[in-house]
């Protein structure tokens, strides 16, 4: 086992591993690209949806249960289905990742909106604020911590799942897992897994640190 660990350390630190189209640096960049882009798209869909449901109160059932539905969606099945429909392209990857991220963004955005003290909203309306003013100047800022949590959790999930790109021949860190499997190179498989975990953790710690900093003046 120490042998394996030693080989892993060598794999992670050797310069030649990092260089080239098959190298760690390139795969890392690809992986981050898939993850960030997919989360961005998911946010563009999920945030407005969550804000709308939270503001109007309509469709709450959807917001609460969407997360369950998203969690149940088998990523492999979705990727294969889109692949069969659209052929060899990044569509299967992005659709699967966006489908994974949207539910948790919607649910957390909705949760953030419902956590806003109704008295505050009333006071705002009482001051004569119109609907959209209440939404953007009162509710959204107050809901922001939970919304950011939702975005952070979605990003982490997407990073872990972006290995899926390797199912349909694309890059990212999942490539190491699949190629390592095909080439009987356990170190490569382990390396890919460890890299994904490290990226996810670094992003998680970084973003939660950012969250704490941004909301440092807020009380509970």
């Amino acid at each position: 086992m120490f042998e394996l660990f030693k080989n892993l350390a060598k794999w992670l630190t050797s310069g030649s591993q990092w260089a080239g189209t098959d190298g760690i640096a390139h795969r890392l960049a690809e992986h981050l690209q898939y993850s960030l882009l997919a989360t961005l798209i998911a946010a563009a869909i999920g945030l407005p949806l969550g804000l709308l449901i939270g503001h109007t109160g309509k469709g709450a059932f959807l917001a609460i249960n969407l997360a369950s539905f998203g969690r149940a969606l088998p990523t492999v099945g979705l990727v294969v289905l889109v692949f069969l429909a659209s052929g060899l392209s990044m569509w299967p990857v992005y659709i699967a990742l966006v489908a994974l991220a949207v539910p948790s963004i919607v649910t957390n955005t909705y949760a953030g909106m419902t956590a806003v003290d109704p008295d505050v909203k009333d006071a705002a309306r009482g001051q004569g604020m119109r609907g959209h003013q209440v939404l953007f100047q009162v509710e959204l800022p107050l809901a922001l911590p939970l919304i950011m949590t939702g975005l952070r959790l979605a990003l982490i999930q997407v990073v872990s799942t972006a290995t899926v790109a390797a199912y349909v021949s694309f890059g990212g860190l999942g490539r190491f897992v699949f190629d390592g499997l095909a080439q009987r190179d356990l170190v490569q498989v382990l390396g890919g897994a460890v890299l994904v975990a490290v990226v996810a953790i670094v992003l998680d710690l970084g973003l939660s640190g950012l969250q704490r900093f941004l909301f440092r003046h807020r009380t509970a």
Binding site: M1, R184, D204
Partner: protein, 311 residues
Amino acid sequence: MNRRTLLGALAGTAVAVPVLSSCASGVTSLDGGGSTGGGSASSKNGVTIGTANFTENQVLGYLYAAALEAAGVKVKVRPNLGTREIVFPALKSGDIDLLPEYQGSLLTYLQPKSKVAEAGEMQNALTLALPSGLQVLPYGIAEDADCFVVTRATARKYGLTSLADLAKHNGKLTLGASAEVKTRQVGVVGLKGVYGVEFKEFKSLDSDGPLVKGALKKGDVDVANLFTTDTDIKANDWVVLTDPKTLIPSQHIVPLIADRVADPTVRKALARLGNLLTTAQLTELNRQVDKDKKDPEDVANTYAKQHGITK
């Protein structure tokens, strides 16, 4: 996440990596433990047939099953288990007992540097190369070889008829195949060694699967690694590059079996099937599964009935 959980996460990472590594403690490859031989062979307790993750292997698996069941052996088929890298260790560790294999590919899997190419020679080379507890039974007449294929347009554009022609365009063409082809003799390594071919890029797809065929059609790869029994080759007017220096060894289909179940009943049943199934017939069975969307099991059973293996 408060500070304690943050420190916990860091400590967790420091622990998780060795924890993960210790998952494969003492193992540096994907192989599980070897099987222990000994005792006389018997198929009384049934035979578990495993198959790899492509159509033809599943058809073969169910054909083996039909042949064995007709001979009175209890059979269980575990289809679509994965690539050889997953399936072979399963055979060694006893999770499965019998596997339809291909002479050449199996030999290069066991001995990457092997240059043996003739069918009879390979049979002996395999017997020598296999770990104890496993053996190959006599090979059947049907054959399915790896081949390297280009589109008719590519062949015309670069003047390609044989693998040797590829060397005239080094650094220009992209090869698509499953990942292990990058590191094996019947693949990038051998093409360089025997024909002096160097590709511009290698794309990890699959061999003779939807990914590489899709890529070939789209033009994402110039050369694709396919199998000779694939009817898509003819259907798409693809050109199989010839192999004058016999890089690609003979690939007769051969049952790879654990010693402990290789008793006379099993041997005879598989020998009967081996002499019966021709390459053309196998190609047709593959077509029925891939194009007509029939189940491998049904296709195999129908064949078995038609050819008198089962009543």
